[in-house]
């Protein structure tokens, strides 16, 4: 994990290093004198060679210092901490909605294969899977916030888990999770179908164990193994998805911070946010590995 993390920091630094344009000039504006630009370059360490800049940045990162924003002059770590909460909220609610919808739907579709439930949910799954999330976000805003006014249009207000908070988070969370829900429903269905055809399920049924007990105690837990893998793989995608949704819904999270920083060429903020996104992905992958050993005792990492 540590070599990979080091590699990630190298990639992040090289994007910023390779980008055209002079951040010092951008920060000072067009009217700045060459001397002032040169001095700011000196302060920002921009005239150093790439590897020195990398080591300087890394020395800071290891001490929790991600540099200072060019635009706002505030510490990048402070900016990110302010925005991390809303992004985690949005990602977790989207994830929860995805799981709550997809897993039961997938199981029912498998148990009643080719019934109308199965056909309808597979039809919707394909639709969900194919919708651009930012477009769905706009449609949701138009229908539920502008036209029928059930929800606020955008932003984030209220304390966490209060009614106001839910009213603000629900639409963006649906927009983020829909595509994932489509994928997960299909996977849960095919995983469950595979398990239902296994010998031990037939044996359990043959011994007269009720079909509900068979499905839920014998089938579900085994069918969940590939689904947990997929949920784990979805975590980075859910976080990626929040980036654009945060822009659509003006959600004050890390994604908007990143997009604004990229548009304004605020290099330290870009580096810092990408780094934090990568750490989230790695932690999520680690979590999946742990979930495996719980679901399937045969898997042993020692």
């Amino acid at each position: 994990m540590i070599p990979v993390m080091l590699g990630v920091t190298v990639v992040i630094s090289s994007i910023v290093y390779a980008a055209p344009g002079n951040p010092a000039r951008l920060a000072l504006g067009d009217g700045a004198s060459p001397e002032a630009v040169a001095q700011l370059e000196q302060e920002m360490g921009l005239n150093q060679p790439a590897h020195i800049r990398y080591f300087d940045w890394m020395a800071g990162v290891l001490q929790g210092d991600l540099g200072t924003s060019i635009q706002s002059g505030r510490a990048v770590s402070t900016l990110i901490i302010e925005r991390l909460g809303p992004t985690l909220e949005l990602a977790l609610v989207a994830m929860a909605l995805t799981i709550i919808i997809a897993i039961p739907l997938g199981v029912i579709s498998a148990v009643r294969q080719y019934s109308w439930v199965d056909n309808t949910s597979m039809f919707f799954a394909i639709f969900w899977l194919s919708m651009p999330s930012f477009w769905l976000g706009l449609i949701l805003i138009y229908l539920f916030a502008v036209r029928w006014q059930f929800f606020p249009v955008s932003g984030r207000e209220g304390l966490i888990f209060t009614f106001t908070w839910w009213s603000f988070i629900l639409l963006p969370a649906i927009a983020t999770g829909t595509r994932r829900a489509g994928l997960l429903t299909r996977l849960m269905r095919s995983s469950m179908l595979e398990i239902l055809n296994e010998d031990y399920i037939r044996t359990a049924r043959g011994k007269g164990i009720g079909s509900k007990a068979v499905i839920y105690t014998h089938g579900m837990k085994n069918a969940l193994i590939p689904v947990v893998t997929l949920i784990g793989l979805q975590v980075p995608l859910i976080f990626s998805g929040t980036v654009i949704i945060e822009v659509v819904f003006s959600w004050p999270g890390m994604g908007r911070l990143l997009v604004d920083a990229v548009l304004q060429r605020d290099y330290p903020v870009v580096q810092g946010t990408i780094l934090v996104y990568s750490v989230i992905v790695m932690v999520a992958n680690f979590g999946v590995d742990i979930a495996y050993t719980y679901l399937d005792p045969r898997i042993d990492y020692s």
């Binding site: 990630v8 990639v11 994007i15 654009i244 996104y277 990568s278």
Partner: protein, 300 residues
């Protein structure tokens, strides 16, 4: 079998390993044609390609022509998808958008395939430290959320068509590498590879003539299933203003165009979204159909 023309050629062109494969291909195409979804998807994609090519001939209006007498008009017979805030015909713009989706999809997947398949073949064939280095790079790039990295690259390069292509290509090749490497590992165990090696056939020849044709089916399936992602990402980046810039009629940029007028003119953003959706459904259907046809054991 005109309906599956493009899929047809992509499979036959990869053939080179002997006469027995022709029968296999016939079976594969038969299976593919039996899947109604895949057939529908193929017909749609064929239409999509044709529309992309002949867009100037069939669009009722010039997609860039502004008409201040017809701003934000609702869908009508003259303008089936309405007009936008400059009076441009949304229907013509959506049809033209097909060109960009097609161009971006083909170019980006082409680059990803060349880089990703090449590295995958090398990693799988040459094992040892070469493999370790390549797979570590894959691990590293998998640890950064794809769209986040693509967005940063495209945005830092200033946006536009070329930065968009560079960004998504740089991020997406890794999937090809993983898949190809895994497949090469299993092919390489075969006796005929051992025979070729011991009779002194050069590595390059073995890789291109004996290994590549045997891993090509998963490459084709993966490429088809990657197409939706590439289309979605290009649209997303253009929507954010980091890809193709307005007034270019790219689908994502078209959706962004209508964002401010959602309340008064819902059609501007809505129709390009449906175009994206239909295209993605079609590619997914073909991809699933191909996968099932190539590997009936996975079919479900």
């Amino acid at each position: 079998m005109a309906h599956s023309g493009d899929v047809d050629t992509s499979i036959t062109s990869s053939d080179s390993a002997g006469s027995g494969r022709w029968d296999d291909q016939y079976i594969i195409l038969r299976r593919l044609a039996q899947s109604k979804l895949a057939l529908g998807g193929t017909i749609y994609v064929a239409l999509f390609v044709i529309i992309g090519i002949i867009a100037p001939l069939i669009t009722p209006h010039d997609p860039m022509a502004q008409n201040y007498d017809a701003l934000n008009q609702a869908p009508s017979l003259a303008h089936p998808f309405g007009t936008d805030n400059y009076g441009r015909d949304v229907f013509s713009r959506v049809l033209y958008g097909t060109r960009y989706a097609l161009l971006l999809g083909i170019v980006i997947i082409g680059i990803q395939m060349i880089v990703g398949v090449g590295l995958g073949l090398i990693a799988g064939y040459y094992e040892g430290y070469v493999e370790t280095v390549i797979m570590r790079i894959v691990d590293i790039s998998l640890s950064i959320p794809g769209i986040v990295l693509a967005l940063a690259i495209a945005g830092m390069l200033g946006g536009g068509l070329l930065p968009l292509i560079v960004a998504i290509s740089l991020v997406g090749w890794r999937g090809f590498t993983r898949i190809v490497r895994g497949d090469v590992k299993s092919v390489i165990e075969e006796d005929y590879i051992e025979a070729a090696r011991s009779s002194g056939v050069p590595d390059r020849w073995i890789i291109l003539k004996h290994i590549l044709p045997n891993v090509s089916s998963s490459i084709i399936v993966y490429a088809t299933l990657t197409m939706p992602t590439v289309i979605l990402w290009s649209a997303a980046l253009s929507f954010l203003g980091m890809g193709v810039h307005p007034p270019t009629p790219e689908w994502g940029a078209l959706i962004a165009d209508g964002r401010g007028d959602l309340q008064s003119a819902w059609w501007i953003s809505t129709f390009p979204g449906f175009a994206i959706m239909a295209t993605i459904i079609a590619f997914n259907a073909i991809g699933d159909g191909l996968r099932d046809a190539l590997d009936p054991k996975q079919a479900r």
